[in-house]
Structure formats: structure tokens, C-alpha cells
């Protein structure tokens, strides 16, 4: 028994100290929420009155993440909470920039391709972006003066897609109906020029009305001719949109193996809104008219060309196959895009909150200082009331603190959770609940001693009864935390999470630390024969009659 208790006590202390050391050594820290370090928080919701489902929202979250990542915001937090999307951008202060960043429509456009440039060799998208913010002005000129921009209007020839096979990338060229693509005229030096200028350009070129922005990915302007990036890093100039993803039947796009490689099949809606729209486009592209000289039809989502397959038939009925050298993941992604495009959602910013960094820091500092003073006062009170037993409370709070800090850090590191002001408040409140576990136990202990039991016996019986109470009461807290976490949005969630976390730690510490600590103390000389909490007791259980005169 005694050995077991010692194991438990030593075990939990080693666990707490060990976790804390690992965290400190690895430099994991709890990621602070926006309200504690400044930044912008945007809450988006679908504009009311439109049909959508969760997968459309999930796709929108994915799109926002791509955009935010391409812009290079550190530690962004992008979450879907029920049917709202919360985007937290720490360190960003420009509201307009933040709103542009999260402005995704989920709309898929079908746009004829005028010309395409090869992907710049091995240039990651993010690096393009970071220079873009500073050099966009000059970059626009470069693109504007290059031959590519004027190309579609003067010649019918496209710039070769995938003309730099060294990248190993399949390029934007895909085939529809698995007919081999026609090899477009070889790229001249213009392609190279565009390729390199594309490095620094993020601005949309072409006809006026195109949005100019400093954000990593350009905005889609379906009514204009634009240069848009492809998923593999290339660029294509595309004409005005000829139709939207709504020509496809919802959820009909399926990735599958077609003719030895991965591809996507999708069904067209019947009638003029589906096949009608599609076939007009297909006809243009199949015939290589001036509106679609490259014979490719781009599938664009939020300013990025997902795929630009060549059209190999003039008329389609029922369904369309897109084949090419896709990987399974690429085909799946394309199918997902086409499915969501069949039912796009328009999001609107419901709440935009900017917190200045100084205000955030002040709040954090105030919360920390107040918390420390609060804990010190509680401990002082415990020592005044429970005397030596309060030592258990002191070490116990240390163990709880180390565990909560470590868990918070781990969660920040691996699950993208952040500690917000509401979370800090949740933790401060949980001090009361944690202390209560000790109070319930110690008051029990007193009852048992008064009933005439030895300290050793009292500790054992007292814990059993107290732990029962702690479990029931903490269960209620846990139910509350879980319900709030599942059903609420924003700050309430953060609060619920930390309340739940600290409640669980409380139960854990009560069983694995407080129990062995008090039980061992009750056997030790430290407590024996002393007045414990005013109760005269001795180790042998001989109890002085309480309050009796004789």
C-alpha cells in the first residue's frame, strides 16, 4: 500500500516536471489568442437565403487557408464553427487587407484559355507572394509590356502549356474525352519572359476593371480577361467567364481511373442551363475561335485555375471526362472543386475585430498579475486555515499548473489551439474549483477525526467520500464544458475548452497526487501527535474526548 502510494506520488511529480521540461526545452509555448497579442479576427457566414452544405464551407476554409498561407501570415487560425468561419490573423493590422484575404466566393468559373505560360521552375507559391507586395507596381508593367498580354488579340496561337518539361509537372494541359492533345506552337522567348515576370507579378493584367491587389492570389473578375495562376505554379491568360460550375450536377464529379490514369467524370445538367452553356463553350474551344484560341477550357476557383483541359469534342451529352496525368490527390481535389462549384456559397463578413498589440499585451499582463496575486491570496488563506496540510495544496497547485501549461503548449503546437483572454479567464475561475477539491477533502478529514478515528484511518475514509463528491461535481462541470464547446462559437468555445481541460486535470491530480500525498502525510511523523486543524489526534487513534469536560 505504502509503496503504491509513493509510486503514484513520485510518478505524477515526475510526469508534471517531465512534461514541463520537455515543453520548455522544445520551446513550445501556449499560442496566444488574438485578444492577447493583437491582430484581426474576421467571422464569415454564408449570405442568408442560399442553399449550401458543410462541404462547401469546408472547401471555403481550405481556400481561405491557401490564400492566407500564400500571404505569409504567421500562425493564422482558420476554423469552421458550425456554419460560421472564423479567421484569426495575428499581427495583421490592415482591415482591408484582412478582408481581401478571406474574400472567397467558392464560385467556379469556366473560362476559355487565351494563352498559358509554363510554371516557373520550382518556385514555391509562397515566395512569389512575399515579393509581390512590394514589387507589384513594377511587376504590372513587366507583364503589361510583354508580348503575352497582347498575344491573344493579335494571334491565335497560344503559348505552349507545359513547355518546360524539366519541371516534371504535367502543366495545365488536360484532355477532355481522352483524345491526345494537340501540341500548340512551341513557346518562344515570350514564354520565358512571362515565366520570369510572373515571379513577381500578382496583379491582374488585361482589360480595365480587373481588381488590383497586393494579396498573394489575384481576384477573379469573371467579366474581364485576366492572367491567373494555375495550381502548379504556371499562369494562363483567360477570357471572360462563359459559364459557372453550376452547369454540373451536384456531387456528380467523381475521381476515377480512366484509360490508365486518374481523371474526373462529371455529369452535366440537362437543358440550356447545363449542357447548353457547356456546349457553347466547348464548341468555341474545340474550334479554336478567337475567344478560345488555345482550345483549352479553364476551370477557375477564386482566382486560381484548377485545371485547363483541352476540349476534344464539340458536343457533349450527359457527362464529361477530364483526363490527363493527374495523381489521385489532384483528381480528388478537382472533383471536390467541381462539386462545390455546382452549389457555390457567398460569404459575408459578420464581425471584424481588430485588437491593437499593446492593448492585447496589457490585458495579458493584467490577467497574469491578477491571477498570481489571486493564487497567492488563496494559498495564504489555505495556510492560515489548514496549517501544515496546506503544503499539499501548494505542491498540488504546482503540479496542476505544470500539467495545464504543458497540455496547453502541446495543444497549441499540434492542434492549432490558442489561448485567448476568455481561456485565461476560464483558467482563473478553475482555481476556485481546484481549491474546492482540497477543501472538500480536508473538511471530510476533519469530520472523520472528530468522529474519533485515527488520522491514518481518517485520511483513507475521508478521501473515499471526498473523491465521490469531487467526481459528481466535476462531471457537471465537464458536461457544461462539453456542451458549450460543441454548441457555441468564438470566445465561448475557448473558455469551455480550458474549463474542461482544468476540470479533468483536477480529477487526475486529486486521485494521483492529493490522495497519496495526504495518506502518506497521515502516516508520517510530520503530522503525528500534532494538533491537526485544531483536532487533537494521535497516531495510535487514542482520541481525547472532544469538548467533554471530564
Amino acid at each position: 500500500m505504502r509503496r503504491k502510494l509513493i509510486y503514484s506520488l513520485v510518478g505524477i511529480i515526475i510526469l508534471a516536471v517531465g512534461l514541463l521540461t520537455i515543453n520548455l526545452a522544445a520551446g513550445y509555448k501556449p499560442a496566444l489568442g488574438l485578444d492577447l497579442r493583437g491582430g484581426i479576427s474576421v467571422t464569415l457566414r454564408p449570405v442568408p437565403g442560399q442553399a449550401y452544405d458543410k462541404s462547401s464551407l469546408d472547401l471555403a476554409v481550405g481556400r481561405i487557408r491557401e490564400r492566407v498561407d500564400s500571404f505569409g501570415v504567421g500562425e493564422p487560425e482558420i476554423l469552421r464553427q458550425d456554419n460560421a468561419i472564423v479567421v484569426n490573423l495575428p499581427g495583421v493590422n490592415d482591415q482591408k487587407q484582412a478582408l481581401d484575404l478571406v474574400n472567397v466566393t467558392g464560385k467556379v468559373y469556366l473560362r476559355p484559355v487565351l494563352a498559358c505560360a509554363a510554371p516557373p521552375s520550382a518556385t514555391p507559391v509562397t515566395s512569389i507572394v512575399s515579393t509581390a507586395t512590394t514589387t507589384s507596381g513594377t511587376a504590372t508593367t513587366t507583364v503589361g509590356s510583354s508580348a503575352v498580354v497582347t498575344l491573344p488579340t493579335t494571334t491565335g496561337a497560344g503559348v505552349a502549356p507545359g513547355s518546360t518539361p524539366t519541371t516534371g509537372s504535367p502543366g495545365p494541359s488536360r484532355r477532355v474525352n481522352s483524345v491526345p492533345p494537340t501540341t500548340p506552337p512551341a513557346a518562344s522567348t515570350t514564354a520565358a519572359t512571362t515565366g520570369s515576370s510572373a515571379d513577381t507579378s500578382t496583379t491582374t493584367a488585361g482589360s480595365g476593371g480587373a481588381t488590383s491587389t497586393s494579396v498573394g492570389l489575384p481576384f477573379s473578375d469573371p467579366n474581364a480577361t485576366q492572367i491567373l495562376p494555375t495550381r502548379d505554379g504556371g499562369r494562363c491568360q483567360v477570357g471572360p467567364s462563359g459559364g459557372t460550375g453550376e452547369v454540373f450536377v451536384r456531387d456528380s464529379a467523381i475521381p476515377r481511373i480512366i484509360g490508365g490514369g486518374w481523371g474526373v467524370t462529371v455529369d452535366l445538367k440537362t437543358g440550356s442551363s447545363g449542357e447548353g452553356v457547356w456546349n457553347v463553350l466547348a464548341k468555341e474551344c474545340f474550334n479554336g475561335t478567337t475567344t478560345c484560341p488555345s482550345k483549352q477550357l479553364a476551370i477557375e476557383l477564386d482566382g486560381e485555375i484548377q485545371s485547363a483541359p483541352s476540349v476534344n469534342a464539340e458536343q457533349f451529352t450527359g457527362s464529361v471526362q477530364i483526363t490527363g496525368s493527374f495523381t489521385k490527390a489532384q483528381a480528388t481535389k478537382l472533383a471536390q472543386v467541381m462539386n462545390s462549384g455546382a452549389l457555390p456559397i457567398t460569404l459575408q463578413a459578420e464581425a471584424v475585430q481588430t485588437v491593437s498589440a499593446t492593448l492585447g499585451k496589457d490585458s495579458l499582463r493584467a490577467a497574469l498579475i491578477a491571477g498570481a496575486i489571486g493564487i497567492a491570496l488563496v494559498l495564504l488563506f489555505m495556510f492560515l486555515y489548514y496549517r501544515r496540510l496546506a503544503l499539499v495544496v501548494l505542491i498540488g497547485l504546482g503540479v496542476s499548473g505544470a500539467l495545464i501549461y504543458s497540455l496547453t503548449s502541446f495543444i497549441s503546437r499540434f492542434y492549432n489551439g490558442v489561448l485567448s483572454l476568455a481561456g485565461v479567464a476560464g483558467l482563473i475561475v478553475s482555481i476556485g474549483v481546484t481549491i474546492d477539491s482540497y477543501v472538500v477533502f480536508f473538511e471530510r478529514l476533519k469530520d472523520e477525526i472528530r468522529a474519533g478515528r485515527s488520522l491514518r484511518n481518517s485520511a483513507q475514509r475521508g478521501f473515499k467520500a471526498a473523491f465521490h463528491t469531487i467526481l459528481v461535481a466535476d462531471s457537471v462541470s465537464l458536461i457544461g464544458a462539453a456542451v458549450l464547446w460543441y454548441l457555441s462559437v468564438g470566445a465561448v468555445r475557448g473558455f469551455a475548452f480550458y474549463l474542461g481541460l482544468s476540470t479533468m486535470v483536477d480529477v487526475f491530480v486529486a486521485y494521483f497526487f492529493t490522495r497519496p500525498a495526504v495518506l502518506l502525510l497521515a502516516r508520517s511523523k510530520y503530522m503525528s501527535g500534532r494538533k491537526i486543524m485544531g483536532m487533537e489526534t494521535a497516531i495510535d487513534g487514542a482520541v481525547q474526548p472532544l469538548g467533554a469536560t471530564s
Binding site: V352, A422, I428, D447, V476, V492
Partner: protein
């Protein structure tokens, strides 16, 4: 509390053991407060508070913050900017300055101007921020803004209400399963009482209700239930303990309340101290405004949470249980004074000796003593019952 504890000390019982001082008894948990006898004090006080709350809610309503009403808010360090200058900036940007609510708040010794207007477009918001920064001679990064559509506020409220309803149902089921329905009903009534009074404070003082306030109310709700559960756990234990003694339920409650009194006081103090520190040090001295409202709601909520467990939940439980067939027949007068204390300390050596003395007195025919001896169930229950053996499975 200490005033109440000693009201029976003038009753002289023969051979009553020497008693400790008032504080000593409280410290040692030897109190004998007749909570049930004073239940109308508590209920009356609560009724009065609730009445004030309802009147205030009907007449003034709640001061709902930006997040519920929709609109835009800017917060600017106001060392170099005045109210009038801020209004000029608003007017220059086409915002109707007459609609704007401008207040000065103090945070960390720095005065900040808080400007609230109805909803504005993104472009206007950004322009106003820049212009305000210029006027205030600070970087635009120093300005906090917050913009919310009214629809979103409604959404948050709806979600919170839905979460609340689910929470109450789940907790009621849990308490009913773990204890009994009467306890579930009492605990939830006490919880609603606490939230209502906290909301009343917000309405009465016209404090702004923010999302942080909602969190605070939810915390109050959680703590109130937590506290009530701890008290009811004791009641539950005593119900089983006195089951054979046919003790009226009022007495069971009284005994339980006295037994958990010290725990309730200690826990309340331990829970309130950090919140008080948050309120006084965090919000008051260090001036973190965002903490102030939160801490205030919690402060009120934690105190009512502990209070209602004893003065609302328990009398209600006694009333509900007292009507059940099992307890209806037990119409004995409540044990008060020393009898109550004996029940509270049931099983102590002193009590045991006393019980023995009474029994032997009755046996030997010492009628004088026997008549004097109070016929409390304590005589029956002279020592705590042996703990039930664990069921073998």
C-alpha cells in the same frame, strides 16, 4: 453568519458539555444553525432581489454591446485627441457624428477614446481608423476596431440560448440519474436564480453586455450547479444515514447544511479571491477593461452561487421531499439547539457517551433525567452505521 450561530446558547441543557467560542465552533464544524427555521429570510431576500431584477429588466432592459446590436467601434489612445476632434473625423468621412457614442475609458493609466457608430462599410472603417490615428498622433496599429453585423449578434445569442437549453436538460438528467429528480429540480431552480440575479446587476447598473459577459454568465451557471451538487451530495449521504432513524427531511437538510457550512464558506472564499484579484488588481489598478466586466459578473455570480445552494436549493428540496409519502408522516418538530448539534456531530465520542447516559437513565427508572432527555433520533443513532459492504459482482 456568526450572529445566527449562537442564538440557542441561552437554552440550558443539564450536563451540556462546555462549548467552544463561537468562532471555534465554526472552525471545528460544530455549528447548529437552524437553516430551515430561517429559510424565509433567504427566500425573502432572493424574492426581493428577483423583483428588483424584473422591474429593472422591464423598465431599463439590458445595455447590449456592439456584438449583439451590430455596429462599429474604435478605440484610440486619447493623449492627443479630443471628443470634438474625433467627431470631426467621423463627419469628414461621411459618418453621422450625431449617432456616434463617444466615451473615455481608462486602461493601464492610458486614457482611451471609445467611439461607437452604426455599421459602416469596410472602406469607411479603414479611412476613419487612419484619420483617427493621424489626429491622435499614433500609429494606425494602436487603434483597435471592432465591427459586427446585427445578424451575427442575433446568431450568437441564439447559439448561446440553444447551448443553455441543452446544458440544462443534460445536467437535469445527470442529477436525476445520480441522485433524484427533486434534487435536479432544486439545483436548476437555484442556478436560474443565480443567473437571474447576475443579469439583474447588469441591468440595474446598465453595464454593457459583451460576449465576455455571456461567458461569465455561463461560468456562474456552472459554478452554481457545482456548488449545489457538493451540498446535495452531503444531503444524499445523510438521507441514507438517517434512513433508519425516521428523521424528518427538514432535519436531514439542517444537519447537512451545518456539516458543509465550513466547506461552502472556504470554497466560496477560495473561488472569490482570484476573481476579486482580477477585479481589483487586473481591472482596477492595471486597468484591463476587458477583464473588468467579466470579473464583476463572476464576483456576483460566485457569491450568489454559494448562497443559493444553501438558501434556495435546499429549502426547495426539503419542500419537495417533505411532500413525498415517505416523509409526509414524519411531522416531528425540528431538532434545534443542542439536539441539532448532536445530529451534526453524530457519532462523536461525546455524543455516544451522552446517548449511553440517557439510555441507562431510562433503564434505571431515573424518570427525571429520562423525561428531560430530548427524544431525538440521535438516541437511536448513537454511532455511525457501519459502511455498507461492497457488492460482489
Amino acid at each position: 453568519v456568526s450572529d445566527v450561530i449562537d442564538t440557542e446558547s441561552d437554552i440550558q441543557i443539564p450536563d451540556a458539555p462546555a462549548r467552544r467560542s463561537r468562532r471555534g465552533r465554526l472552525y471545528h464544524g460544530e455549528t447548529r444553525v437552524d437553516f430551515m427555521g430561517r429559510k424565509w429570510w433567504g427566500i425573502g431576500a432572493s424574492m426581493a432581489l428577483i423583483l428588483v431584477t424584473i422591474i429593472s429588466l422591464l423598465t431599463q432592459g439590458l445595455n447590449l454591446g456592439l456584438d449583439f446590436e451590430g455596429g462599429v467601434q474604435w478605440e484610440v489612445p486619447s493623449a492627443h485627441i479630443t471628443d470634438a476632434q474625433a467627431r470631426a473625423v467621423l463627419t469628414a468621412n461621411g459618418v453621422n457624428a450625431a449617432d456616434a457614442k463617444i466615451v473615455t475609458v481608462s486602461a493601464s493609466g492610458v486614457k482611451r477614446l471609445r467611439i461607437q457608430t452604426p455599421a459602416q462599410t469596410t472602406a469607411v472603417r479603414q479611412k476613419v481608423s487612419e484619420d483617427l490615428a493621424k489626429s491622435a498622433q499614433v500609429s494606425v496599429n494602436e487603434i483597435s476596431t471592432n465591427s459586427v453585423t446585427a445578424a451575427w449578434g442575433t446568431e450568437i445569442t441564439k447559439k448561446a440560448v440553444r447551448a443553455l437549453v441543452v446544458f440544462i436538460i443534460l445536467v437535469a438528467l445527470f442529477i436525476a440519474w445520480r441522485f433524484e429528480w427533486a434534487m435536479a429540480l432544486s439545483a436548476i431552480t437555484a442556478m436560474l436564480h443565480d443567473v437571474l440575479i447576475s443579469v439583474g446587476i447588469y441591468s440595474l447598473l446598465q453595464l454593457e453586455v459583451t460576449p465576455a459577459t455571456v461567458i461569465a454568465f455561463l461560468t456562474i451557471l456552472g459554478f452554481s450547479l457545482y456548488d449545489t451538487i457538493v451540498v446535495f451530495d452531503k444531503v444524499d449521504e445523510n438521507t441514507a444515514r438517517f434512513a433508519g432513524a425516521r428523521l424528518p427531511y427538514d432535519d436531514v437538510i439542517n444537519v447537512s447544511m451545518n456539516q458543509v457550512l465550513m466547506r461552502s464558506l472556504n470554497t466560496s472564499l477560495a473561488a472569490v479571491l482570484p476573481v476579486l484579484s482580477l477585479l481589483v488588481v487586473g481591472a482596477g489598478i492595471l486597468g484591463a477593461i476587458s477583464l473588468r466586466e467579466f470579473a464583476l459578473a463572476l464576483f456576483v455570480g460566485l457569491i450568489t452561487g454559494s448562497y443559493s445552494s444553501i438558501f434556495i436549493a435546499s429549502p426547495l428540496l426539503a419542500w419537495l421531499k417533505g411532500r413525498t409519502p415517505k416523509y409526509r408522516s414524519l411531522r416531528a418538530p425540528r431538532a434545534i439547539g443542542i439536539d441539532l448539534e448532536r445530529l451534526v456531530m453524530g457519532g462523536s465520542p461525546a455524543a455516544r457517551r451522552e446517548a449511553q447516559r440517557l439510555r441507562s437513565a431510562a433503564h434505571t427508572g431515573d424518570t427525571a433525567t429520562a423525561v428531560l432527555a430530548p427524544a431525538t433520533p440521535e438516541v437511536v443513532l448513537s454511532h455511525p452505521p457501519r459502511p455498507r459492504k461492497k457488492k460482489r459482482r
